[in-house]
């Protein structure tokens, strides 16, 4: 499905609002939406929601031969998938323009800034190294996908623990989590992407929504770490604006917000990881807490114990079961009334009872005939309606209503 084009009214409305330094969701121009992070029960799995934009990240690892150019380093792959769930114009399994762009921005922010110690991921130089893969799925699109994806990727990487390995001369043993405690990744600094949007009138906003993204003329994404260091920069523009115009006004705000955001991510990761180390049952910040308990459309159940008939008697009635279930099967397939008939037949079977085939067909006939009766009635009503139309055109509707009532009564 193609993307719906934005109407002029909407465009003008957003532009006018920005002129008056107002945003549709009531934020200040340089204010970001709230960030929520929820972790799954696996290492390196999280859902991040930035306002209504939602992304899921999962880090996975396997052992591969390192690149010939960097024989003593592990590898990091970042893969952003624009799930068709996020918006109807995203297509599944195809690398579209925006997905390549987001992928590249994240690679520059996380990979090229060397925030992850890849050397520690090497097991045997030139032979074996860990290959990390970060999969990010966007599941709801409300603008600013880059920021949401970068927060998700960073949180997942910080949360991820890889299995421990021990290597003797020839072979490598990967220890399961039960044998040896898993190890976290070494992260030198924590870069996040912060996006800004410039409008026609020169106003700049932070963390644009989907609607604003479609109206804006230039988009600036900065990768900044908590030490206020710039890791990547991306400027995408439609009209004549230069980075020099935008950066001075927002760089300070971006650096402050980045520090705030990173401390938020660190804190939520720390809480979850500590709870796992202590093997505590944590009752916040998990997947199930994504579900808002107070919502009318949400629902919880405790465990549902089911007392099934003849539970656990499977062994006792081994011989009987086949017969029983054949009966059961028949009862299931035929509706209630005829099922009763069948049971009677079963009793009569072999005693020279009524022919079952005949019986079946007769019941079928009944059903069919009843169907036919209904059909006849319908055609009758149609005839009547037609007549009525010819006779009096005014009371068409009333007449048909009367007829349907009659139908129901019969």
């Amino acid at each position: 499905m193609r993307e719906v084009i934005l109407s002029h009214c909407e465009k003008n409305f957003v532009n006018k609002a920005i002129d008056k330094e107002t945003r549709l969701d009531g934020r200040q121009l340089l204010e970001a939406r709230p960030v929520n992070i929820h972790f799954g029960s696996n290492w390196g799995c999280c859902i991040v929601s930035l306002g209504r934009t939602k992304a899921i990240a999962q880090v996975s690892c396997d052992i591969q031969k390192p690149k010939a150019s960097r024989p003593n380093e592990g590898m990091l792959h970042i893969n952003v998938e624009l799930n068709p769930m996020a918006a109807p114009f995203f297509e599944a399994g195809r690398q579209s323009d925006p997905s390549v762009q987001i992928n590249r921005q994240l690679e520059r922010c996380l990979k090229d800034s060397k925030c992850i110690d890849l050397e520690s991921l090497c097991i045997v130089a030139d032979k074996k190294a860990w290959n990390l893969r970060v999969d990010i799925n966007i599941i709801n699109h409300d603008g600013n996908l880059v920021d949401c994806a970068s927060i998700a990727a960073l949180a997942a990487l910080m949360h991820f623990h890889r299995p421990d390995v021990s290597s003797s001369e020839e072979e490598i043993i990967i220890h399961s989590f039960a044998e040896k405690d898993p190890l976290p990744l070494t992260i030198y600094h924590h870069p996040v992407c912060i996006s800004f949007l410039v409008f026609e009138n020169g106003n700049t906003i932070m963390d644009p929504t989907y609607l604003e993204e479609k109206v804006g003329v230039a988009q600036l994404t900065m990768g900044i770490n908590s030490y206020r260091e710039l890791c990547s920069l991306d400027f995408n523009y439609l009209t004549r604006t230069s980075v020099a115009d935008v950066i001075p006004t927002i760089s300070n705000q971006a650096a402050n917000y980045a520090a705030e955001l990173v401390s938020l991510i660190k804190e939520s990761v720390r809480q979850d990881v500590e709870a796992r180390y202590k093997k505590e049952v944590k009752n916040f910040g998990r997947f199930e807490n994504c579900i808002a308990t107070d919502k009318l459309t949400a629902m919880f159940t405790d465990k549902i114990p089911i007392k099934l008939s003849s539970w656990g008697k499977m062994d006792d009635r081994e011989d009987e079961i086949m017969e029983d279930q054949k009966e059961n099967e028949q009862i299931i397939k035929i509706n209630k009334n005829s099922a009763e008939l069948l049971l009677l037949k079963g009793d009569l079977f072999g005693n020279g009872g009524v022919n079952t085939w005949q019986n079946d067909s007769s019941s079928d006939d009944e059903e069919e005939s009843s169907d036919e009766v209904v059909m006849v009635e319908e055609t009758k009503t149609k005839c009547h309606v037609l007549d009525d139309i010819e006779l009096s055109e005014d009371s068409e509707e009333e007449e048909t209503q009367n007829m349907t009532k009659d139908d129901i009564q019969t």
């Binding site: 193609r2 769930m85 893969r133 997947f287 629902m299 089911i306 539970w311 499977m314």
Partner: protein, 221 residues
Amino acid sequence: MEGTEIVEDEGILRPMKCELNHLTMPDGSAMFMQGDTAVVAGIYGPVEARVQKMMYDKASIEVVYTPIKGPPCVDDRMREQIIKETCEAALIATLHPGTAICINVQELQDSGGLLACTVNAACLALINSGLSMKFMIGAVNCMIEKDSQKLILDPDTTQIQEAKATFTFIFDSSKKDLVSCQTTGRFTEKEFLYSFDKCKEASQCVFQFFRSIVTKYATRI
């Protein structure tokens, strides 16, 4: 555990948690959890169909299943196919000729019974989207334990490792008939029919859950 007729953790469905309208972009969406297994489903429909897939007499139903990590593999395609065929049976596609109904399912976490969870999430999202259906669909997963030959309903990951065979049955809500089923492992016909019976009984709880969530919000609107 032994000695009692009804073993406690056998006849139990894991706790179900659900939120309808979880996402804002899709027409209908649901996040559904069964124990730790979590799935998000989102539905767009009826929307404009691509020319290649357009059918003049009914809506074409597209299903996209996205695994949590890596590109979709053969198993994921199969799951996609099962959801597609099940939803085709449930939806009244002839009401929207020439359009497409897109069902997207995202896996969040797999702790056993993923297919059942996926189908239930898809059904809840369909309910939320307001598309007309002939019946609801509810799936129940069960397994037969290797050593004890016992049937365990809705097993989790640790239990599934002891499984000789696993079954996922999908039922409809009106006639309580089987819509589709998926099995793994080796089993006898007797075991199959036995687990079919039990899952059928358990599916009533799933439908009851669906009904209660709808009544919960429908009575207050």
